[in-house]
């Protein structure tokens, strides 16, 4: 894939730096309340915490978004939609998992409908622990993610591409069918 459109003008390394700088300052978030953590998203979006300061705005469709927040527990039915949305997003894309539930199931550790660990199915760039994380924690996570992007550490989308077979295999253990 041709990554640098202007190879002769900007060296590849510099181009990557510019690209990272741009994408960290303009993270468009997909508007997807996957779980109860979405309850703390309105305060983060609105006047008190105002995430638009960092250029983060909610977007209606996955085609336009760079950042997906998996806000809380993931039911099996939702996982399919999350994967679908994630695959519709365009690289580079980042995932922040929100709350304790995507880490190990949280309070729903014994539920029959909650997948316990999210990074078995899609790559997660950042976890925020806590039930539910406070807006300050969320803002902190955004800053951390921006730092990671800057340093080239947030590369879950590359992992997904690299280990696509493994991710797909894990997903297909949960889904009985995958409509395309």
């Amino acid at each position: 894939m041709n990554e640098n459109p202007l190879p002769s003008v900007i060296p590849d390394k510099e181009w990557k730096k510019i690209q990272r700088m741009l994408s960290k300052r303009s993270l468009w978030m997909i508007h997807f309340c996957t779980g109860c953590g979405a309850m703390e998203m309105p305060p983060v979006m609105t006047s008190r915490y105002d995430m638009e300061r960092f250029g983060i705005i909610p977007m209606a469709t996955p085609r336009q978004a760079d950042l997906m927040l998996v806000t809380g527990y993931v039911a099996t039915k939702t996982l399919k939609r999350i994967v679908r949305v994630y695959e519709q997003m365009q690289d580079p894309k980042y995932v922040i998992a929100f709350g304790s539930c995507p880490i190990n199931g949280g309070i729903y550790w014994d539920s029959y409908n909650i997948i316990k660990r999210l990074d078995k199915y899609i790559p997660v760039d950042l976890y925020i622990a806590g039930c539910m994380p406070r807006p300050e924690a969320v803002m902190d996570a955004f800053l951390k993610l921006m730092k990671d992007i800057d340093e080239g550490k947030a590369n879950g989308w590359m992992r997904y591409r690299k280990y696509y077979d493994q991710y797909k295999r894990n997903q297909m253990r949960i889904f009985k069918r995958w409509d395309e």
Binding site: L22, S23, S26, G55, A60, R63, P92
Partner: protein, 321 residues
């Protein structure tokens, strides 16, 4: 001859580039101002440059088929073309080479390209969004065309550059035809798709409508297009009613006049844009048929009154600018 021509082309290119830059800046300012209205800090004013840069630098860009490509190409080329036909800050650009009617139809090129690309995606949201956009166009064009007619009848010209000269020598449109100016500003709100008329892209209803399938560089180019169209629409209003911001006659003052006029023009389009943005911040959106009824009712009546005024002044009173 050829050197003159090249200098002209270079100047036009510079003005077009500046127009897009100003458009992006205006989008940033609008976000900042809206944020202040909403008790927020808001993003930095240069945020939209970063957004466009990011979108153009995205690693993957998807499309559904080749018709999809029409959208960004036609939209960007069309809006730049329309801008080129519009005098900016007293500089005529290409407006001597084509008149208002041509401009009006050039303004349809980006819209059509956009609609083609949106329709190519097979997403029903996009189809509904384009339907709403076209209906909105039919709505606001009614008063706007009447306003244009009033201007063309009153100033007896369809050429924008002549219109600017006549406004400078006689009176600005807003002074001569204040009623039409009011109707035009109402129409402008719909033309810029600001609330209460942001119906085509209503995210809560149709998930950003025609934009629904665009991402990456496609969205980036469409953002450049919308930046250009902000400048296009505000400048159109300024050129029609505020004398294009021409306060000094270039024939007498030379280069200084161009600089001063450019600044005045900038202030004027900023004011027009701010009015739209502030209205945008405090209104919900109409349903499409309500927008249609609204436009074919009040602004149209106002525009007809303006037309009658222009008609009486020009035909019966013999006022010749």
């Amino acid at each position: 001859m050829i050197v003159d021509w090249l200098i002209q082309a270079g100047l036009v290119a510079l003005y077009l580039f500046l127009a897009v830059v100003i458009g992006l800046l205006f989008m940033g300012i609008a976000r900042k101002v809206t944020a202040r209205v909403q008790n927020r800090v808001g993003p930095p004013v240069y945020q939209n440059f970063l957004d466009v840069g990011k979108l153009l630098a995205k690693k993957t860009n998807i499309k559904h088929n080749w018709i999809f490509d029409f959208a960004p190409l036609f939209a960007l080329a069309g809006v730049l073309l329309a801008l080129a036909y519009l005098p900016m800050g007293g500089y005529k650009m290409l407006s001597g080479e084509g008149d208002l009617i041509l401009l009006l139809y050039i303004m349809a090129i980006p819209a059509l390209g956009f609609a083609l690309g949106a329709g190519a995606s097979a997403n029903p949201n996009a189809g509904v969004g384009v339907m709403r956009a076209l209906m909105l166009m039919l709505s606001y064009e009614m008063p706007f065309l009447l306003v244009l007619l009033a201007l063309m009848i009153f100033y007896n010209t369809a050429s924008l550059s002549t219109l600017l000269e006549k406004q400078m020598s006689f009176a600005w449109g807003i002074v001569a035809l204040p009623i039409s100016a009011l109707a035009a500003d109402l129409a402008l709100q719909g033309m810029m798709m600001e609330k209460p008329f942001d119906i085509p892209i209503a995210p809560h209803e149709i998930a950003s409508g025609p934009l629904v399938e665009f991402g990456g560089k496609y969205l980036g180019m469409l953002m450049l297009y919308s930046a250009g169209s902000i400048v296009l629409e505000t400048t159109l209003f300024v050129d029609l009613f505020l004398g294009g911001g021409v306060v000094l006659n270039p024939a007498h003052y030379g280069i200084i006049a161009y600089v001063v006029n450019y600044l005045v023009w900038f202030v004027f389009i900023f004011i027009v844009w701010m009015i739209a943005v502030l209205i945008n911040a405090v209104f919900p959106r109409f349903r499409i048929e309500q927008a249609f009824k609204f436009y074919w009712k009040w602004p149209t009546v106002i525009a007809i009154l303006g037309l009658i005024q222009a008609y009486i002044m020009s035909v019966f009173m013999g006022v010749v600018p």
